[in-house]
C-alpha cells in the first residue's frame, strides 16, 4: 500500500501508543508502530500508523481510552 493511504496518530509517549494499539486490535483496525515522521515532530518517539480511511473509526475507538492524542496527521 502506498504511503499516501496512511495517517499517523501522534501521542505523547510509547506507553500511550501501546494502549491505543491494543484498542485498535480489539476493533479490528489496521495499525503499525512507526517512528514519528520528521516533518511532524523532532521527538524521538513512535506513533501509530493507520489507514487514512480509518481515521474517524480510530478517533472514536480511542475517544474513551483517556489517552491524549497530540494529533492525527496524513502522511
Amino acid at each position: 500500500m502506498s504511503s499516501e493511504a496512511h495517517a499517523v496518530v501522534v501521542v505523547h509517549s510509547t506507553s500511550h501508543a501501546m494502549k491505543i494499539t491494543r484498542r485498535l486490535k480489539e476493533r479490528g483496525l489496521a495499525w503499525k508502530l512507526v517512528p514519528v515522521p520528521r516533518h511532524i515532530s523532532s521527538d524521538c518517539g513512535v506513533c501509530v500508523r493507520i489507514l487514512r480511511a480509518d481515521v474517524e473509526a480510530v478517533r472514536s475507538a480511542v475517544a474513551e481510552l483517556g489517552v491524549e492524542i497530540v494529533g492525527i496527521e496524513e502522511i
Binding site: 505523547h12 509517549s13 510509547t14 506507553s15 500511550h16 501501546m18 494502549k19 524521538c44 518517539g45
Partner: protein
C-alpha cells in the same frame, strides 16, 4: 534448608520469571520507549504487558497509571514527598514500617504534621480512630495493608470510605500483601498503592511501583527524579503525563520482564488460592508454636485478619540466639529483631528486643512448618 523469610524477599520463584528475564537479556535487551526500532518496541511491549498485568492484579483501570520503580520504599517516598506540602496533615498507624515512618518524620521536619493512630497490642486498628484523627488540613491517610511484624491486616477498605467521605487521599503500603492477599484499588478507594516486586509478587529485586488513582492529578505530583523519558524530548521541563512524569531514566526493564511474568503466573493461579494456601500453613504454624511452653506468639490468630507472617519470642532466650540456633542447628532461615518497624514493636510490646519472625511463602509446605515448630520446641526446651 527451610526458608521462612518471605516477608523480606521471596526465595523460590516460578521458572517463568527466570525464563522471561533470560529471554529479555538474550533477545530483547533494548531501551523501552526510546528509539523506535523493533527491539526498542519489543522492550516497550514487555514493560507495557507488565503494567497491564499489575493493573489487572490490583483492579486498577488504567495501565498508564502503574508507575514502575525500584521497590516499595521508592514508591512510598514518591507518593509522600511528591504530594505533601508544609501545612498538610497526615494520619498513619502505629504499625508502620520505616519505609513510611522515616519519610514522614523527614517531612515533619519540613512542616508536615503527622498523627500516629495507636493500634491494639494485637496489631488491630479501629477505623473510627482514623476518622477521629482527621483535621481540616488532613491531606492523606497512610496505612500498611498488613504488618511486616505481626501480619495483621489493617482495615484499608474502611479507611478508603473515610478518605472519600472527607476528601483526603489514601496511600496503602502493600509491601506485605501484593501477591498474597486480594487488593482492589477501585473497590477499596485506594488512591495510591505502593507495591514491591520481590516479595509475594515473586518478581526480582529492583522492581516495584506505585498505582495512582484517578483522584490524583499527576501534574501536581513532584517527581523524585527528573530526566529523560523518551517522550516530549523537545522540552527541557518534565512532562506532566503518566507514566513518564515519574519514570525518568532507563527503567529496570529486565527486572520488569521478570515481574510481569511473575504477576501473570499469580493471576493464572488466582490470588484467592494463594491466600488460602498460605493461610492454612499460617494456622498450622501458629497452633504449633502456641502449644510450646515458653513461646509467645504475637498478633491475631484469626486467619481472615492476618497474613502468613508470624512473630514470636521464646522465654529465657534472646531473639538473636533463637535465630542463630535455627540457622546453625536446624537449617531454618528466619529474621529476628525489629524488622525495620520500631513503631510496630512498641505497639505489640516487644521493643527494643524485637521478635523472631517466620514468614511463609507459596512454596513452603506443611513439612516445613512442622520442622520449624519442632526446632522451636527444642530450642525452648534448652537445645542446643
Amino acid at each position: 534448608m527451610i526458608y521462612l523469610d518471605h516477608a523480606a524477599t521471596a526465595f523460590a520463584r516460578p521458572p517463568e520469571v527466570r525464563d522471561a528475564m533470560v529471554h529479555f537479556l538474550d533477545r530483547v535487551s533494548a531501551n523501552p520507549g526510546r528509539s523506535g526500532h523493533r527491539l526498542s518496541l519489543a522492550a516497550a511491549e514487555v514493560v507495557y504487558e507488565a503494567r497491564e498485568a499489575v493493573a489487572e492484579l490490583f483492579h486498577a483501570p488504567d495501565p498508564l497509571r502503574v508507575v514502575f520503580g525500584l521497590n516499595g520504599t521508592e514508591a512510598i517516598n514518591q507518593a509522600l514527598v511528591g504530594l505533601l506540602r508544609p501545612g498538610d496533615h497526615v494520619v498513619t498507624s502505629s504499625l508502620e514500617h520505616n519505609a513510611v515512618m522515616r519519610p514522614l518524620r523527614a517531612l515533619e521536619a519540613r512542616g508536615v504534621a503527622v498523627t500516629v493512630v495507636r493500634c491494639s497490642p494485637e496489631g488491630l486498628l479501629d477505623p473510627a480512630h482514623i476518622e477521629q484523627a482527621l483535621r481540616p488540613e488532613t491531606r492523606m491517610i497512610v496505612l500498611n495493608h498488613a504488618s511486616n511484624v505481626v501480619g495483621t491486616v489493617l482495615p484499608v477498605a474502611a479507611a478508603g470510605r473515610i478518605a472519600r467521605a472527607h476528601g483526603v487521599l489514601l496511600l496503602v503500603d502493600a509491601a506485605q500483601t501484593a501477591g498474597a492477599w486480594p487488593i482492589d484499588v477501585e473497590g477499596d478507594h485506594i488512591d495510591l498503592l505502593a507495591f514491591t516486586g520481590h516479595k509475594s509478587l515473586l518478581g526480582p529485586t529492583g522492581t516495584g511501583g506505585l498505582v495512582i488513582g484517578a483522584r490524583v492529578d499527576p501534574g501536581a505530583m513532584q517527581p523524585l527524579k527528573h530526566g529523560g523519558t523518551g517522550s516530549a524530548s523537545e522540552h527541557e521541563r518534565q512532562p506532566e503525563f503518566l507514566p513518564d512524569r515519574l519514570e525518568s531514566g532507563t527503567p529496570n526493564a529486565v527486572g520488569i520482564a521478570g515481574l510481569g511474568a511473575a504477576v501473570r503466573w499469580l493471576l493464572d493461579r488466582g490470588i484467592e488460592a494463594v491466600q488460602e494456601q498460605e493461610a492454612a500453613l499460617a494456622v498450622r504454624l501458629i497452633a504449633g508454636l502456641s502449644a510450646i511452653a515458653g513461646v509467645r506468639v504475637y498478633g491475631t490468630e484469626d486467619p481472615a485478619r492476618r497474613t502468613a507472617t508470624v512473630s514470636f519470642t521464646v522465654a529465657g532466650r534472646s531473639v538473636a540466639e533463637v535465630g542463630y540456633a535455627l540457622d546453625e542447628s536446624f537449617d531454618i532461615l528466619s529474621r529476628v529483631g525489629l524488622h525495620c518497624a520500631p513503631a510496630a514493636h512498641r505497639t505489640i510490646g516487644t521493643f527494643p528486643e524485637g521478635t523472631v519472625r517466620f514468614s511463609l511463602g507459596l512454596f513452603n509446605n506443611a513439612d516445613d512448618v512442622d520442622c520449624a515448630v519442632d526446632a522451636v520446641a527444642r530450642i525452648a526446651g534448652g537445645s542446643p
